[in-house]
Amino acid sequence: MRNIFLFIRRYFNFVFFVVLQVAALYILFHYNKFHEAVFSNVANELTGNIGGKYNNVTYYFHLKKTNDDLAKENEELRNKLLSNFERPDTTQKMMQDSIPYDTLGHHRKYLYREAKVVNNTVSLPNNTLTIARGENQGVQKNMGVIGPTGVVGVVINTSANYAVVMSLLHRQSKVYASLKKTGETGYVFWDGNSPLYITLKNVPKSAPLAKGDSVVTSQYASYRFPQGILIGTVMDIVDDKTSSFYTVRLKPATNFFNVQYVTVVENLVKDEQAKLEEETNKINQ
């Protein structure tokens, strides 16, 4: 027994080193699996705060670009307004609609919340953004995030006033996409090489594809994103003779180098969908 104590005392430094290493590695691998970590809520709040202060300064330098983007988005939205379209009136008589509610059962599916980006990385192997809107302001894990020009990512962690978003430039990011022209579906991920490109896979070669084609979110991604949000445009097509599927390099629609404002998308009926799918899975087993 005494020898054991002597041994521990002699090599105490080494033992302490191993303990700290194990602690660090445990946090690292635990975090990457479940997106949660020790004190991550408190730390989020703190780093988010510092990020907010820093952003107050850098925000100023991007004002012009941000303004351009927002103006362009406004223009696009204005073009979609119903009042832009005129229908020739063919009715002969004015009638008062007597039914007070919409009989077609229209209900709201997506709710949008604006948020400011306070922290952003593009040069790491797993890139994230921090936004200044958290649980208290209605942001929850797994919500989709879009920017003025296209898809940004998915919320992976939240605290009271901040949330961390996994951007498309993240190793674990995967978004179901479809070609805007013909509707063939596939998925978009990042291979970790260059932040200037993302990769689209699983689109069958039967689909006509050309440089510059738009790739948008597919209906299968509707759990998080509305259908038809731009993800990127085709930069070049890798010719893989062994596969009957395309591997395509895309230029992301969102410029991750200067994203300033994003919109968090909440799917109000996702619980219903998830519940139904889960019940069905149980029956099938």
């Binding site: 105490f12 430094n13 080494f14 302490f16 080193f17 700290l20 290493q21 602690a23 660090a24 590695l25 445990y26 946090i27 690292l28 691998f29 975090y31 990457n32 970590a37 020790v38 991550s40 730390a43 989020n44 703190l46 780093t47 820093y54 922290n119 990385t121 593009v122 040069s123 790491l124 192997p125 797993n126 994230t128 962690n157 961390v164 190793r171 970790g192 090489n193 260059s194 932040p195 180098f257």
Partner: protein, 177 residues
């Protein structure tokens, strides 16, 4: 300025510079990531025990990790160089007990050549371990090798610039005074 105050200020500055300046630079290439934050660990005083050295390094690495959302990654690398620092210093110090005469490792206290070796060895160890942990999750051997070499090169350049810009005057201390 006492050692505690000085090192606390350095702690904050190194984290902020690393995250808000170096990590915000547009990536030149996937292999090139400019790291300079670990210089904090190399600059800690000789008088600290190995245990407290490791503890401070762990906290330092973890703080950076919470900014980059990779808890544990930098902490593990920092703890390793903190542990190995003592051995490297012991080999490189020009004469027995010379570390008693100066406060912390610097070109003045150790001499330019031994100090350069000290920085080189610990930089390589730090990057090899850091990139190895990344490599476990993805990538190929070429990625590992290329990233270690490229990142070490750029880090050594940054360390040199830092040493020249912030030249630390080290007072020679003796028992006779």
């Amino acid at each position: 300025m006492s050692d505690l105050v000085r090192n606390t200020i350095r702690f904050v500055l190194f984290i902020l510079v690393q995250y808000y300046v170096l990590f915000q630079i547009r990536p030149l290439h996937q292999f090139v990531v400019p790291y300079v934050y670990y210089l904090y660990v190399l600059w800690l005083p000789f008088s600290m025990g190995r245990m407290s050295l490791m503890l401070v390094s762990f906290l330092f690495g973890l703080t950076l990790d919470y900014f980059t959302q990779t808890p544990g990654l930098h902490a593990a690398a920092c703890v390793m160089i903190a542990y190995l620092r003592g051995f490297v210093v012991n080999i490189l110090i020009p004469q027995e007990g010379a570390e008693q005469n100066y406060k912390s490792p610097s070109p003045v206290s150790m001499g330019w050549a031994p100090y350069a070796v000290y920085v080189l060895v610990l930089t390589l160890l730090h990057h090899i371990y850091l990139v190895f942990l990344e490599w476990l999750q993805f990538g190929s051997f070429l990625f590992f090798l290329g990233k270690v070499v490229a990142t070490s090169g750029i880090s050594l350049m940054l360390v040199l610039i830092t040493e020249l810009l912030f030249f630390r005057k080290e007072k020679f201390r003796t028992n006779t005074a």
